[in-house]
């Protein structure tokens, strides 16, 4: 291991902004993308439920 202390690690030899700027934005992307995909999946399911409910309602009215 090449780090003497935690402060030395975070300083990245004076290149902290570049190194952490790269990894922070990457981490942000890898967290946000799955959240967006999950929201899209939930939206699709919600839409299906609405349609399913509407279809059943129409069916009941037709039967009545």
């Amino acid at each position: 291991m090449s780090w003497g202390s935690a402060a030395e690690f975070f300083a990245m030899g004076g290149k902290a902004a570049f190194v952490w700027g790269s990894f922070a934005v990457a981490a942000f992307c890898f967290i946000v993308e799955p959240l967006l995909v999950r929201a899209r999946h939930r939206r699709a399911l919600r839409d299906l439920k609405r349609r399913g409910g509407a279809a059943r309602k129409v069916g009941h009215e037709a039967a009545a």
Binding site: A17, V37, D47, K49, G52
Partner: protein
């Protein structure tokens, strides 16, 4: 005889693919997370400081995997799009659409981390050099593919138009890959090649490859998740999606 063969075409139907895809996602996601943790550990705690670049070189552990994936995802996306064009299979177009945003994200990360690596090593965030410019074009191809598909209401026509764009754009991939050989550029040559031994320390190489594998598994997990959402969106008029337990009102 035919009974012993798995009918792979069965999985080309969105209905047959939806369930198995969902069961695969947690495995790919978990493997990606574990490999990313190992890769980051190697990259930050095992790999030594670079003699020329100091610590700034550690950007390599995200920059190279992101760049590789941006090109690889494009090839897979164009492959699915081409398959959809030839076989007219419904799932192919959905796969291509599901891969595009992930590919665009990797292309963006490649450019972003490349800029932040360029400043401390070359003294500039950006130059109009062959490697950088062709990677920027790759990003625009992804964005163009997404925008084109979004602009066409009929999903089957959107698939066809997108497929043509994706296939024409494939020409850009070898241009990116060989740009550092074909032109005199500021960007360094390939660190890893199939024909000669890598020009870097073993621990650096290991960390990079582990991170690349993590990125690969992440891309699989997130695009499987996205294709499931796309399947639900596009199959909303068919009966089977309404019979899903999770869609029951």
């Amino acid at each position: 005889m035919s009974k012993r063969l798995i009918n792979w075409f069965r999985f080309s139907s969105p209905q047959a693919f939806y369930g198995p895809a969902g069961r695969m996602i947690p495995w790919f996601a978990a493997a990606a997370a574990i490999l990313a943790a190992i890769g980051l550990y190697i990259g930050f705690f095992v790999a030594p400081t670079d003699a020329q670049q100091g610590e700034a070189y550690r950007i390599i552990f995200i920059h190279v995997p992101a760049s590789w994936m941006s090109m690889f995802v494009y090839l897979v996306m164009a492959g699915w799009a081409g398959l959809g064009l030839v076989l007219n299979s419904r799932l192919s177009g959905m796969m291509a659409s599901a891969l595009a945003p992930t590919g665009a994200m990797f292309a963006f990360l490649s450019l972003w981390t490349g800029a932040l690596w360029g400043k401390p090593t070359w003294g500039t965030y950006w130059v109009w050099d062959a490697r950088l410019t062709s990677e920027l074009i790759l990003f625009f191809l992804y964005v163009g593919f997404i925008a084109l598909q979004a602009a066409i209401d009929d999903p089957r026509r959107a698939d066809k138009a997108g497929a043509v764009l994706a296939l024409v754009g494939v020409v850009n991939i070898p241009i990116i890959y060989f740009s550092v050989q074909w032109w005199n550029t500021l960007h360094q040559g390939a660190s890893v090649s199939l024909t000669r031994s890598p020009s870097m320390a073993t621990t650096m190489l290991t960390g990079m490859l582990v991170m690349a594998l993590a990125a690969w598994l992440y891309a699989i997990a997130v695009s499987l998740a996205r294709v499931r959402a796309i399947i639900l969106e596009r199959e909303r008029h068919s009966g089977w999606v309404h019979e899903l337990k999770e869609a029951a009102a």
